[in-house]
């Protein structure tokens, strides 16, 4: 049993120092063995399964031939955040699920680990940035949000010769890579190192603590730039809609993760003995596993549906169970109890009746001193006036343009694919290509 981080009494320790890497990186021997396991398929299904269409067989072949920097360039040419994606992608439902070895019933190629091996090699080697900029176009693009979508957009736009100014609401770049992923996926401050690497292309400046609001409006941005790209992600969170939700000890899981990622002293994290995490996505798992690793006695993950409906992959759910998280399915939150602070929650058992989730009427209580809500994020924020919002997301055309001419968007704030880093990177890349084409006529 791990020591409770609040009771260690030792010197201040940060997440970067406390958490071990979730996956052991491949060493040279294992990388070559794993690369050799790849069949170098033609028109490979793994490429199609990757939202950014990385030429996976080619980069693995390059690892095999010892062309490690070439392997990294192959990855980064399609996905400039290939380093984060190698760590955080649910590869088991993307590239690795499509691996033909899966079809053959064999162990699939560890594409994520190989990708990380190549990128880590390139970043450790240092040297000049692997891509160069096209001739200066004289055009200037504003980007709102320095998360994966915005950064990916900025990098591609800079490569195409445009000047880019990014306006970021927080004080650090990286978005969810920096604030919202479990610390054990992003050890050694990888998010920050990746952004620094990405900015090596040149032509990108970032202004921090600048959110879209009355002082920074879309109108201003449009007036001062040739085009605008919005990559603000989902700034709001869904609530339980229960009384007592405002009690002490009830908080958003995403904030809990951010606190862990950002604090220099983990013992200052609010961590109880009995923690309930509500939700079934990756954020819920990231919060629950980190809480357990930090030493919480009981961590219960409660989800109102079954395991198949969970947003988290089977690997993630297993990870939670292996770390001692109690996973309670078919449990719908009904009430939050406590005076000043939460002391317990009531759940109702659920069943699917004719495809509809229905409460059975049976309830049970779980004692808790911390309840973490991970039931989804939503588009929120000022300054979106004039933009058409459909079904909770910004409406965009096939060329990534919003309802306002010259304003483009991508990432979690639009409906493209899954809300994943890799999808946001793809959105940013495609939007940059679209904006580049648009600028030629505007």
């Amino acid at each position: 049993m791990a020591h409770h981080i609040n009771k260690t009494g030792c010197a201040k320790i940060s997440a970067a120092q406390f958490f071990d890497d979730l996956h052991r990186p491949l060493d040279g021997l294992m990388a070559v063995k794993e690369a050799d396991h790849c069949l170098y398929c033609y028109d490979a299904p793994c490429i199609q399964a990757c939202p950014t269409s990385i030429d996976i067989p080619t980069f693995i072949h390059q690892i095999r031939t010892g062309n490690m920097s070439g392997a990294a360039r192959t990855i980064l040419s399609e996905n400039i955040m290939g380093g984060t994606c190698a760590r955080a992608c649910p590869t088991e439902v993307l590239c690795e699920q499509a691996c033909v070895h899966h079809e053959g019933g064999n162990k699939t190629v560890e594409i994520g680990l190989l990708q990380r091996h190549a990128i880590d090699h390139l970043m450790a080697a240092g040297g000049s940035h692997p891509f160069s900029r096209a001739a200066d176009t004289g055009r200037h693009i504003a980007v709102v949000g320095a998360g994966p979508a915005g950064l990916s957009f900025a990098h591609r736009a800079a490569m195409l010769g445009h000047k880019v100014s990014i306006y970021e609401a927080k004080s650090k770049p990286g978005g969810l890579n920096e604030y919202g992923l479990a610390a054990y996926k992003m050890v050694n401050d990888f998010a920050a190192r990746e952004v620094e690497f990405l900015l090596g292309i040149g032509g990108i400046e970032i202004y921090y603590d600048k959110a879209l609001d009355s002082s920074l409006t879309l109108d201003n941005l449009q007036a001062q730039h040739d085009a605008v790209f919005i990559g603000i992600g989902l700034g709001g969170t869904n609530g339980l809609g229960l009384d007592g939700e405002d009690l002490g000890g009830v908080m958003d899981a995403i904030d809990f993760i951010e606190d862990i990622r950002q604090t220099g002293d983990l013992s200052a994290i609010r961590l109880g003995e009995d923690i309930i995490v509500i939700g079934g996505g990756n954020t819920a798992i990231d919060a629950a596993v980190q809480a357990k690793k930090l030493g919480a006695q009981n961590v219960t993950l409660a989800y109102r549906r079954g395991e198949e409906q969970m947003g988290a992959t089977a690997f993630e759910v297993d990870l939670a169970r292996q770390n001692g998280v109690m996973v309670r399915l078919w449990s719908k939150p009904m009430a939050v109890q406590g005076n000043a602070a939460v002391t317990s929650m009531t759940f109702e058992h659920t069943v699917l009746k004719g495809g509809k989730l229905t409460g059975t009427g049976e309830t049970y209580d779980i004692a808790c001193d911390l309840a973490l809500k991970a039931i989804g994020q939503k588009l929120e924020g000022d300054g979106l006036d004039g933009l058409t919002i459909n079904d909770g997301k910004l409406k965009v055309s096939e060329t990534c343009e919003t309802s306002i001419k010259g304003v483009f968007a991508g990432g979690d704030c639009v409906r493209s694919g899954e809300d994943l880093t890799v999808q946001a990177v793809e959105d940013g890349k495609q939007a940059a290509i679209a904006v580049d084409a648009w600028l030629k006529n505007n």
């Binding site: 021997l29 070559v32 063995k33 690369a35 050799d36 069949l39 170098y40 398929c41 033609y42 028109d43 490979a44 299904p45 199609q48 095999r64 031939t65 033909v100 070895h101 079809e103 053959g104």
Partner: protein, 424 residues
Amino acid sequence: MADLRCTIAGIDSINPFWLASAPPTDKYANVVRAFEAGWAGVVWKTLGEDPPVINVSSRYGGHFGSNRSVIGFNNIELISDRPLEVNLREIEQIRREWPDRVIIGSMMARVDEQAWKELAIKIAASGVHGIELNLGCPHGMCERDMGSAIGQVPEMIEQTTRWVREAVDIPVFTKLTPNITDILWSAQAAKAGGAHAISLINTVNSVISVDLDAMAPNPIVDGKGSHGGYCGSAVKPIALHMVAEIARSPETQGVDISAIGGIESWRDAAEFISLGANALQVCTAAMLYGFRIVDDMIDGLSSFMDSKGYRTIDDFRGLAIKNTVNWNELNMNFDTKAFIDQEACIECGRCHIACEDTAHQAIAFEVAEGGKRTFTVVDEDCVGCNLCAIICPVPDCIEMRPVKNDLPYLTWPEHPKNPLGDTK
């Protein structure tokens, strides 16, 4: 359990696996370890006249597969660098301690009758079962007019073989170099000189790789490298061909063959035996994995023989010789087509792209809705080249199926389209 005993040049051996003349057979300690591991015999590291040679530091190079498997290996080491007397006393001792194991003395000398004869007599006196003439090393010793410098001249092969035959009354093995134009000239010369057996192949001349930082060939000796003898799995096809030529040529057939060249497993061994080898010599595989590999060579060969009903080595020795023919004796009417087992196929597409890019555009590729990829052979375009079956990563997924056509066996000389009639 099959009987693995064999006889070559009149020498009985408890199994066909000997270690070839090389570093593994350099001295007492190695050879005793080899016999403890189960090897039936050794050909002692080549002995020369005193004073012994001096070797350089940095001696071997590797040719690697993608997974760092060593496909080929080369060396620039010379013959034994220890005094002749030391070697001979150790041979005597092991002969006493291991009476059921074979020791062959390998030798080379300058082209001088007295030098060859005196050395052969000294070695024979140590109690070896036979003498092997090293006429093959393609590096170092050939610059001193020995090794392949002799083995590349048939008259000198015959002469040195005859000298040793005249000097000693134990079996003589003549070891041939593959660095020639036609192995039959060498084999015929050895036979004419009276060799009891032919050992082949010695190493293939090679530059194994170039160090692109040092800009010098490997292995590097103080910034420079030299060509060396290539061996290991990669040379097996060359050795199989040369053994087969000797075994099927009217001039040389029937001569005892000690086959050498890339033997790493029981299967390699069985292939050489099927082409007529009486016994086998191994070096590189032992250097890569240690002497223990002989365990599976023995066990695997025995299992193979049991599965086929062969009781002794002679039961299958040479069975593939009659099916090894010149191209002109092949049946032009034979037709075979690739067949892809759709159940076994894992949809990698390697067969398609290989055929599409480099062969006959005979494998169609379709993607169904839902992503299912199907690869199908277009029989009209398939020439039966085997490329797809070779590169398919799934064992037995692509089968080459002979087409029944009821046409007669027709060779190229007999073929109506042969413009030269039945001459070529």
